[in-house]
């Protein structure tokens, strides 16, 4: 039972002269919630389309639920559920009819169909809207209906392509909870694509960072963030901070320290626990700390670290951003995200 739900070897897709997916290899063990994180056009949807048999790969191979995507298309199709990035619903049918269509296409018998429809409609809280034509549904309802439909035939592997794209914060949170529950309680292997960093961070066991059709990193969100060397604490000092800088350079738990425009940028583990100590050190040297800013690295920083050519050309993504925030006297780094 430790068989991989997905195994991908050197998968490549070329569209005329554009290489959308460029020699990607990875494996996803059964039961994992795996993320594909990348900007629009990075090749995430193309990977999903190939794994779900909608697109033929140019080269390379892949197995889904133990079946080859080129040789055993129907077995792959039977094993997967998919929620597409854009709604793939028939708007002239009601919610229930859309589910019924799906169940019949998957050969689920009448009694079983009724039971499962009630079950999934209940799960996504659409039972009372099931008789309404889908053209009257809101964006969030359509998405929930699609998720319900993806679960109708009890797939081993569920693909979610940007499941919360364009949804309001509340609905998004709602859908995140479903996805987690499905994975934890239902044991469904989930492959999720997103360009929302916080979504990958919140949901995924492991996440791959993809850019220009290639994987640039693959690990758990925490380990990816560790690559950046911990939290960034920025201190704005009244007076001459150079003596403090000297003192901190001799401190073991300060990993790096820099001085720019009167702002000290320090990287360290558990920055929030070190701030009182930093203030004490400054006061011991007769300096006043005017402003403190703590920045926990996010996946976005990891992303910039690996892919951000235009952002990284200024040195040190996190420190740079932190200083910018402090100079503009904006809100904290978490709120200041664009």
């Amino acid at each position: 039972m430790t068989q991989d739900a997905i195994r991908v070897e050197n998968l490549t897709k070329k569209f005329e002269d554009v290489t959308a997916v460029d020699g990607v290899s990875f494996g996803v063990p059964s039961g994992e919630l795996f993320g594909l994180l990348g900007p629009n056009g990075a090749g995430k949807t193309t990977i999903i389309n190939m794994l779900s048999t909608l697109l033929a790969p140019t080269s390379g191979r892949a197995e889904v639920a133990g079946f080859d995507i080129a040789a055993s298309k129907d077995d792959v199709r039977r094993s997967i559920g998919i929620v597409f990035q854009e709604p793939a619903l028939e708007s002239k049918l009601t919610g229930r009819e859309n589910l019924e269509f799906h169940a019949m296409m998957y050969g689920i018998g009448k009694a079983e169909r009724r039971a499962r429809m009630a079950e999934v409609l209940d799960l996504v809280e659409l039972s009372d809207k099931a008789g309404t034509l889908v053209e009257k549904y809101s964006g969030g309802m359509k998405r929930r209906l699609e998720i319900a439909r993806g679960l109708m035939h009890r797939p081993q592997v569920l693909f979610l392509d940007e499941p919360t794209l364009g949804l309001d914060a509340q609905t998004r949170r709602h859908i995140w909870d479903y996805i987690r529950k499905l994975n934890k309680e239902g044991g469904v292997t989930i492959i999720l694509t997103t360009h929302y960093m916080e979504e990958a961070d919140y949901l995924c066991g492991r996440t791959a960072i993809i850019d220009h059709g290639k994987f640039v990193a693959l690990d758990t969100p925490d380990k990816l963030k560790d690559i950046l060397g911990g939290d960034v604490v920025s201190l704005e000092i009244e007076g001459d901070p150079s003596r403090l800088l000297e003192a901190l350079e001799r401190t073991a738990w300060v990993k790096t320290s820099k001085l720019h425009d009167g702002v000290l940028s320090l990287t360290m583990e558990k920055g929030e626990r070190r701030i009182p100590e930093l203030i004490n050190k400054a006061q011991a040297l007769g300096l006043t700390v005017a402003c403190v800013n703590l920045h926990k690295p996010s996946l976005e920083d990891v992303f910039i670290h690996f892919t951000g050519r235009t952002i990284r050309d200024k040195e040190g993504g996190v420190e740079e951003r932190n200083r910018m925030i402090m100079r503009s006297h904006g809100r904290g780094p978490r709120g200041g995200r664009s």
Binding site: R77, F84, M104, L133
Partner: protein
């Protein structure tokens, strides 16, 4: 290979769409009815040239208009793959574990049914305009012709839908393919009246034999023997469906 349930549910979807889009049905009926009413009245007193004496124009026209309605609605049914691709539903159909042949058969079943319903409605109204069926047994053969016209042009629409990426191509098909097919088919006038070069094009148009067959079976006048029409239409139906299914299977759904 062919899943009965999949064919049924695809057919059922077409039926529900058809019944729920009242304006579409009215729109699809309006043009043939205008043609029928105004051409029928306008040419009422004229003898049909090249058809011998004594054939009233309405007898000549109704099978032609039935053919026109079948041509338009069937090609549209085939082209509706484009809508499904545009609105994403094609992906839902294509990831399902059913054979691609079942998907094509389901679409043909749905498209044929809606096209035939529209034709029967037009035929019903044409009785009010003075059209008369010559023989109830031959009428059944007429229904077979309607079926074959529908199947032929659904296959035709599928081929175009598989080759076109953008919806704009749709207008080009309408203006440069469908309308010429209609005018070359002899739906409104006997082909014999056309110049020789144009007439030859007409003989290459499947709809010519479909409409001639309908004329022979419903109104009792035809340019070719009914057996010839029947044989050719059967051939066209099979070829177009096989080609349509082939191209549909080859085309990518995303």
């Amino acid at each position: 290979m062919i899943s009965g349930t999949a064919v049924y549910v695809l057919w059922l979807r077409e039926m529900k769409r058809f019944l729920r889009a009242k304006s579409r049905v009215v729109g699809a009926l309006a043009m043939p009815l205008f043609f029928l009413a105004f051409l029928g009245m306008g040419f009422n007193r004229m003898a049909v040239p090249g058809m011998g004496g004594g054939v009233r124009y309405i007898q000549f026209l109704v099978p032609g208009i039935l053919g026109m309605s079948l041509l338009f609605s069937s090609t549209m049914a085939g082209l509706s793959v484009l809508w499904d691709r545009e609105f994403g539903f094609l992906k839902e159909i294509m990831v399902a574990p059913v054979s691609r042949v079942s998907i094509v058969v389901g679409r043909i079943a749905g498209g044929t049914t809606t096209a035939l319903i529209q034709s029967v409605l037009i035929l019903g109204i044409s009785f009010g305009l003075g059209f008369k069926i010559i023989n109830p047994i031959k009428f059944l053969l007429g229904l077979l012709f309607m079926f074959m016209i529908a199947v032929t042009f659904i296959g035709f629409g599928l081929i175009f839908a598989s080759k076109m990426r953008v919806m704009q191509g749709f207008a080009i098909v309408m203006n440069f393919v469908i309308f010429p097919l209609f005018f070359l088919s002899g739906a409104l006038y006997p082909l014999e009246n056309l110049p020789r070069a144009v007439r030859i094009l007409g003989y290459a148009d499947p709809l010519t034999y479909g409409i001639d067959g309908l004329r022979g079976t419903l109104a009792g006048v035809s340019s070719f023997p009914i057996a010839l029409d029947l044989g050719l239409m059967a051939g066209f139906s099979i070829v177009m469906i096989v080609l349509g299914a082939y191209f549909f299977e080859k085309s990518e759904s995303v």
